[in-house]
């Protein structure tokens, strides 16, 4: 491996001060680089063996549908190319981006994961691999199987990481008595916790996912057709790090989320359709904080859900006026 290349696991997401959602970044010598593919189409390979009752060809077809879902976003310019089946394993650092099953029974809560080889000088992703944990039961049934996890839904999520997206916090969960969390509801494929067996909701991208990938790979009109909300979240006058800021467009029924990503409590949410939005701020208490931020970041969870006291009007292109939302401690 060349010295400037670095392998990262997908769940490692670092604060990135320019864009909202969570775009994966790498930090080198104090410089933050957004991770993204710079050469398209992005070529991917499918591992030539299936698992969990899913054949290699079924696996390949399912992955192709999942890639096509992201490729179909009209405001993003990403493209993929299937480069063939391979016997190479994911995470081999071999220059091939490989998707495939691997049996990891010790990873009892991990359905899948994405890893990268990146150029930390430029942020360019040069290889990304996805594994699906064959210790779980999987399904490719069109309607889903109530006893199995939907492979396409999880693939769409992992391909979001493959593109450079981190996790979204647009979801509500409850703690299971036996440990872990159960998703009550979510409006982002990139929410870190799966809906569970039998549910195929995450085959379809949500506005938050679309805004995230479009901000990362904007097409020609994305920046001029959509607006940016920016501002600060404060508590007792100081900035709040790691607050989840959600913009709701009542006319379209769309929710797009972002985070405060620095100690000043600053946030930006790009990709908002022009018009009024209701802005809601909540602590990151519906999933483990390390699903979103590095453990070394002191994320503030001790405040009450708060709405911004004005309607925010997203402009048609560019940024709206910056505003501050003062939250109260719990």
């Amino acid at each position: 491996m060349k010295p400037w290349l670095c392998a990262l696991m997908a769940v490692l997401a670092f604060a990135q001060p320019i864009e909202a959602y969570l775009h994966l970044t790498a930090v080198r010598a104090g410089q933050t680089r957004t991770l993204k593919w710079q050469r398209v189409p992005v070529r991917w390979h499918a591992l030539d063996r299936g698992a969990s009752g899913i054949s290699g060809s079924e696996f390949q077809a399912t992955m192709a549908r999942a890639f096509a879902t992201w490729e179909a976003v009209p405001t993003a310019s990403i493209a993929f190319q299937f480069a063939g089946a391979t016997g190479a394993e994911p995470f081999d650092d071999d220059g091939l981006s490989v998707l495939g099953f691997q049996n990891e029974p010790d990873m009892e809560r991990v359905l899948g994961a994405t890893g990268f080889l990146v150029d930390t000088l430029t942020g360019e992703i040069v290889e990304a691999d996805i594994f699906f944990n064959s210790a779980f039961p999987w399904s490719t049934s069109a309607a889903g199987d109530p006893n199995r996890f939907d492979l396409e839904s999880v693939a769409v999520h992992e391909i979001g990481h493959f593109l450079g997206l981190g996790h979204s916090a647009l979801g509500e969960t409850e703690v299971r008595p036996e440990g872990g969390r159960r998703v009550l509801a979510s409006s982002a494929v990139m929410f870190p916790i799966s809906f569970g067996r039998g549910t195929t909701h995450d085959r379809a991208l949500q506005p938050d996912d679309i805004a995230g990938v479009s901000a990362l790979y904007p097409d020609g009109d994305f920046r001029s057709d959509t607006g940016v909300a920016r501002g600060r979240v404060t508590r007792n006058g100081g900035g709040v790090l790691g607050a989840h800021v959600v913009a709701f467009n009542p006319a379209r029924g769309e929710l797009v989320g972002g985070f405060t990503l620095n100690n000043d409590g600053g946030f930006e949410i790009a990709g908002l359709h022009p018009g009024p939005h209701i802005i809601r701020v909540e602590p990151l208490d519906d999933a483990d904080v390390d699903s979103f931020f590095s453990a070394r970041n002191p994320v503030d969870l001790g405040f009450l859900v708060t709405f911004y006291n004005r309607l925010f009007v997203a402009p048609s292109g560019g940024q709206g006026d910056a505003f501050t939302i003062a939250v109260r401690p719990k």
Partner: protein
């Protein structure tokens, strides 16, 4: 706009046109015709509910159900309005009129029922709102009370709304019908100013598109008064 609303607007216009024709036939005297009447004035445009919308997440169920994060009830508040109108009479009975009314209503959203217990609150922005309309005006001379002449009007027009910051413009259509009275205190056959007086009316507007959270038409009631001169 629904098909019914189109039909209703057309019927109002047709009825007014018929009324004008009938009324003209009953009048023996031919009035002097002003080329144009200019009116300026102001009034109030009433508020209107814009609808309630829920901020929903996708629930964890195999059937598509919604999980409400919070709800928001939207409305326009009542606001002062100022107008400038120009009318072209085609006789004492009827004429056509066009104008613009400008107002700055507050768009409010009552946010409540937050799933995590955030207190309810009302949030708002101020909108610049322009009604551009053209209408038929029918004067009912047979119901004249001294100098006070009642009239009816109906028309349609263009709705333009600018959100706070004036970078986002919403477009729509408006349909209007109303009644009012004119009180001319100057009326002469010659001279630069042929007539002058006061005018007041009550209008019902139905707005389509523009700022909305659903596809329904929104009714607004407006009252206005002004001074007019006929040139």
């Amino acid at each position: 706009m629904t098909r019914h609303a189109h039909v209703a607007a057309a019927c109002v216009l047709a009825w007014l046109a018929c009324a004008a024709t009938t009324a003209s036939a009953q009048v023996a005297t031919v009035p002097s015709i002003r080329w144009v009447e200019i009116e300026v004035g102001g009034g109030l445009i009433g508020g209107a509910r814009l609808g309630t919308v829920d901020a929903n997440l996708r629930a964890n169920a195999r059937t598509e159900q919604a999980y409400r994060l919070f709800t928001a009830d939207h409305r326009f508040e009542r606001a002062p309005a100022f107008h400038l109108r120009a009318a072209r009479p085609f006789g004492r009975r009827w004429g056509v009129q066009g104008g613009v009314a400008v107002s700055h209503p507050a768009l409010r959203a009552d946010v409540s029922a937050d799933v995590e217990g955030a207190p309810a609150l009302t949030i708002s922005e101020t909108v610049d709102q322009y009604f551009f309309d053209a209408a038929i005006v029918i004067a009912f001379e047979e119901f004249r009370l001294g100098r006070l002449v009642p009239f009816a009007t109906a028309g349609a027009g263009y709705l333009r709304q600018l959100h706070e910051g004036q970078t986002v413009i919403e477009h729509g259509q408006l349909f209007m019908a109303g009644v009012g009275v004119k009180y001319p205190f100057v009326s002469r056959a010659a001279g630069f100013v042929r007539t002058a007086g006061l005018r007041g009316d009550v209008r019902g507007y139905v707005l389509r598109s523009g700022i909305a959270v659903d596809d329904r038409m929104r009714p607004h009631l407006a009252i206005s008064g002004g001074v007019f001169i006929g040139l």
